[in-house]
């Protein structure tokens, strides 16, 4: 049970937006950038996205090829572990379901490791990137995704904390086990459900 902080009135529990998970606040129009690496310069003429690992048909798409797949959009909320949430945003790209259905995960596949052109990695249960829960996106609110937010394309897994939505994503490796990615090796939770406040290892 939390202790009251002497003198702190806060902004009132009643006014709190029901879309905010516990411990989160509404950042409004802002969108903080909290990357741990040097921002890369990626050229869409050489950009690729690959699904490999435990699949029947490892597949690589170029920028033009991935744009030829069935488009898909997400409208909703995103939640960063550093406690800001951004409500009512829209991203456009392609569903991860579309990519996985081409590569066909083999029996026993249970997890994926998302990786970025920078070397960043993050691990996810396969169930968290299938059935309409994850996208590779290149548009934010109708405009090309800016490089500091992961452009030209990033992973989007909006029901988990946003470090799972790897910026500058380069592919998914399908695996038959879980293993920690970059932040997960550095103290953060393996799954990261904001509604369960799975922020750090052990939460």
């Amino acid at each position: 049970m939390a202790k009251f902080t002497r003198g702190f009135a806060g902004r009132g529990k009643a006014a709190r937006d029901a879309r905010l998970p516990p411990g989160q606040y509404d950042i409004g129009r802002g969108w903080p950038v909290l990357t741990a690496e040097v921002t890369p310069n990626l050229d869409t003429s050489t950009w690729t996205f690959t699904v490999d690992g435990l699949v029947q048909r490892a597949t690589t798409w170029t920028w033009d090829e991935i744009h030829g797949l069935t488009p898909s959009t997400f409208s909703g909320d995103i939640h960063c572990v550093t406690t800001w949430s951004k409500l009512g945003v829209t991203f456009a790209g392609v569903s991860v379901d579309t990519l996985l259905s081409a590569a066909k995960p083999s029996p026993g596949a249970s997890h994926v490791m998302a990786r970025s052109h920078t070397g960043y990695t993050t691990n996810l249960p396969l169930a968290d990137v299938t059935d309409g829960k994850a996208w590779v996106v290149w548009e934010y609110d109708g405009a090309p995704l800016e490089v500091q937010h992961g452009g030209p394309a990033r992973l989007l897994v909006p029901h988990l904390y946003f470090w799972k939505s790897a910026k500058w994503v380069s592919g998914l490796q399908v695996m038959d086990h879980d293993e920690p990615g970059f932040w997960e090796r550095n103290g953060y939770h393996d799954r990261g459900d904001p509604w369960l406040e799975q922020r750090y290892q052990g939460d």
Binding site: A2, K3, T5, G10, T35, W84, T118, G187
Partner: protein, 229 residues
């Protein structure tokens, strides 16, 4: 990692908009230089707000840590920490957090900070000095003007340099201006890690300069400070 109650044992202003809180924890802090703690405030109706703040003090085995808090306009946590919190109050904290932007005091480190981005780098500088290993560290700090400089009395030394982007102190040889390759070139090491901390535009500019000076991308660790009030 539980929430614990920390008692405010001292506070002092670093600049007109930055305040250092000295907190006593229930047990010795296990933080590494560069890590942060989360501060959580709870109102009588149960409303809570929490934010992350870097530890400015070096790991020293004691149960006291220092957090330096920049006051942000309309920042519900930072304005309370500046205006409402008093010595003797208790606040809830959780940490230490973060295993990436850390320096353990053994390998060469180039520390490049912009404004309030000095805070985690200060823990690294203090660790280097406290352990007699200052030769491992080079710190280049960019601030707008002398009034914006944190830890002004403690920073000067052969291993540190401050550059001013808008207003330089009287008599400065370097005219005010943004960080340039010349500011960094002499500090670049060949076998160390660079730690860059500041606003996203500063972090991007500084890390691009380092890449331009030949520092490999995988030897640059970046912490971008967001406007998270």
């Amino acid at each position: 990692m539980p929430w614990v109650e920390a008692r405010v044992v001292a506070t002092h202003d670093e600049t007109p908009s930055a305040k250092t809180l000295r907190l006593a924890l229930p047990a010795p802090s296990t933080h590494r230089a560069g890590q942060h703690y989360i501060v959580r405030l709870t109102a009588p109706d149960g409303y809570q707000a929490s934010r992350s703040y870097s530890v400015a003090s070096a790991p020293d085995g004691s149960n006291e840590i220092e957090l330096t808090v920049e006051r942000l306009d309309n920042g519900e946590v930072s304005t309370f920490l500046h205006d409402g919190l008093e010595v003797g109050d208790d606040i809830e904290v959780r940490g230490p957090i973060g295993g990436w932007f850390v320096w353990d005091g053994e390998m060469p480190a180039l520390l490049v900070g912009g404004g309030s981005g000095i805070v985690p780098l200060m823990a690294m500088l203090r660790l280097a000095r406290a352990t007699g290993r200052s030769e491992l560290v080079q710190l280049i700090l960019s601030v707008r003007s002398p009034v914006d400089l944190y830890y002004a009395h403690e920073l000067p030394g052969p291993e540190t340099a401050v550059v001013y982007s808008r207003v330089a102190p009287p008599g400065s040889a370097r005219p005010p201006g943004r960080l340039t390759p010349d500011d960094l070139e002499g500090a670049v090491q060949h076998d160390g890690t660079a730690y860059v901390c500041g606003s996203p535009p500063f972090a991007d500019a500084a890390s691009r300069l380092l890449v331009g000076l030949g520092v490999p991308v995988d030897r640059i660790r970046v912490e971008r400070f967001g406007p998270s009030g």
